[in-house]
């Protein structure tokens, strides 16, 4: 999988948990309400949070509150379909880290995705 691939959303939708873990960028698979379904190894290593402790929690409020603003969380809420990139900062283990986010959501789909890569 490639972070910049135009069909990344399709690839993520078809990917098993193992395939997500094999990605060289962070992937969060979540429901439309933000509940985490999968949290891949890459993201887990960066954040220091184990997938088991994250799955089932609300990503925007219980896992990564840094994304709970109009730039990230509210864009998912406001958009029917979404494929947007933006430069952001994550605080992996309290260290501000520049990242590029890709917000992915298909109209009518049950799941949505957040892809994260360090820049």
């Amino acid at each position: 999988m490639n972070f910049d691939h135009p069909n990344l959303l399709t690839e993520l939708e078809n990917a098993t948990t193992g395939a997500l873990d094999a990605a060289d960028f962070g992937v969060v698979r979540m429901k439309g309400d933000g509940a985490v379904l999968a949290y891949n190894v890459y993201e887990s290593r960066l954040s220091g949070l184990s997938p088991e402790s994250v799955v089932g929690k609300n990503f925007f409020t219980q896992v990564a509150p840094c994304t709970n603003n109009f730039m990230v969380a509210e864009r998912y809420q406001a958009s029917e379909a979404l494929d947007a990139m933006l430069d952001y900062v994550f605080t992996y283990k309290m260290k501000p880290t520049k990242v590029r986010l890709r917000l992915l959501k298909r109209a009518g789909a049950v799941e949505q995705y957040l892809a994260v890569v360090k820049v």
Partner: protein, 415 residues
């Protein structure tokens, strides 16, 4: 030796604690360079970092707190707060929000910034301040109004007293004396005719009778007029007393058994000018033989006055034109209830199922506070009654219905 698995769990727990900390924290150097930062700090500050850079806190906050570098540079304290509870007004996603900033020196080149979103606190303070200002203005108006009503009341009382004296004055004695004179002359007609002649005597008697009759008629008109003025003045005094009770918040209000239609008439008298000014035709449709009811007279009039005021103001948003009407109907309805219905053809309003949910602050007016409606509903509730306001929709008028139980408990609550 520490179990590696246990250590990892503790580390993750600590990370989660910091990630979820509901206050933004940042560890920065004297130049503002960010060394550590938690998630909430990023959530709050990222929208301010126009270039997406979060390396330097002072740069991120430059537009709202440009003096931070100088504050740090000029501080001589080894440790402690350099910036305390400073309120920052920021624009986030097109909306105005308020942050609170604290900056403290931990030691040496280590500073800690604490940022939190205090928008709700600021808004609450603004609402409280506005309410206090409105209250102060209202109290000022009440002061003036009290004084004006007091002066008017004194003037009216003087006129009333004088009118009452005139009304109590016995019939004009001069008229009775004139009538006696006419009778005396008639009795002495035989003695007068030789001296004045028959024609002149007849003319004199006729003149005396005519003058007496006309003066009696004028005296009667005078008495009717005085009675009318005395009644009108008493009514004005009553209205002024009601208004003074309103200003005192209903203090001294009288509870007793009253005819609701009389209370409605008082309320109409108070609001008549407002309705006439707007060209509203008033139709009173009172059923006959309505029972009297135990109510708090002042408070009930207050409800009626407010209902009439709402109707009058509801016409303000409409174009001037004929056909403006308000119908006030009073009747008894099943369930031992007295029903008062105000039906107008003013601007109406939109509400789910046409029924306005009356809560404090709910209003149908563009400039209304919603306090009047809520207070009215509370007063009616304190009478164990029901207050509803319905409208078929905007432009389609409104119906205000008040139902009062004819079986009043002996100790109703007063709001």
């Amino acid at each position: 030796m520490t179990d590696p698995r246990q250590a990892a769990e503790e580390s993750e727990r600590l990370l989660r604690f910091l990630y979820l900390c509901p206050v933004g924290l940042a560890d920065v150097s004297a130049s503002g360079e960010v060394r550590m930062m938690n998630a909430l700090a990023v959530q709050l500050l990222m929208p301010l970092a126009h270039d997406g850079q979060m390396e330097n806190l002072f740069h991120v906050l430059a537009s709202v707190a440009p003096d931070l570098a100088q504050v740090v540079a000029t501080s001589t304290a080894d440790s402690g707060k350099l910036v305390q509870d400073r309120q920052l007004r920021v624009r986030v996603g097109g909306a105005e929000r308020y942050y609170s900033l604290n900056l403290l020196r931990v030691e040496g080149d280590t500073y800690m910034a604490v940022v939190s979103d205090v928008t709700q606190v600021v808004l609450n303070e603004a609402i409280t301040l506005e309410a206090l200002q409105v209250q102060a203005v209202q109290e000022g108006r009440v002061e003036v109004l009290t004084s004006v009503l007091h002066d008017i009341g004194n003037g009216i009382t003087g006129i009333g007293t004088r009118t009452a004296v005139l009304n109590a004055t016995p019939a004009w004695e001069e008229l009775e004396q004139l009538a006696k004179l006419a009778g005396f002359l008639r009795q002495r007609r035989a003695l007068l005719e030789p001296a004045l002649g028959a024609d002149k005597t007849g003319a004199l008697l006729s003149f005396a009778d005519t003058v007496t009759t006309r003066l009696k008629a004028r005296a009667e008109q005078w008495r009717d007029a005085i009675t009318f003025y005395a009644t009108a003045i008493a009514h004005v005094q009553q209205i002024i007393n009601i208004q003074r009770q309103f200003i005192r918040g209903g203090a001294g209000a009288a509870r007793g058994t009253f005819a609701v239609t009389e209370l409605l008439d008082d309320a109409v008298a108070i609001q008549r000018a407002a309705l006439e000014k707007r060209g509203v035709a008033l139709v009173l449709d009172y059923a006959s033989n309505l029972p009297r009811i135990e109510v708090d007279r002042t408070r009930l009039i207050q409800v009626f006055v407010n209902a009439l005021k709402n109707v009058a103001e509801a016409f303000d948003t409409m174009e001037n034109g004929p056909g403006r009407s308000l119908r006030i109907a009073v009747q008894t309805v099943p369930g031992d209830k007295l029903e008062i219905v105000f039906t107008d053809n003013a601007c109406g309003f939109a509400a789910p199922d046409g029924l306005l949910a009356i809560t404090r602050g709910q209003t149908t007016k563009t400039a209304g506070s919603g306090v009047g409606l809520h207070a009215s509903a509370q007063i009616i509730a304190s009478h164990h009654g029901a207050f509803t306001l319905r409208s078929p929709g905007p432009g389609l008028g409104a119906v205000c219905t008040i139902q009062l139980s004819l079986r009043q408990p002996s100790d109703p609550a007063v709001p």
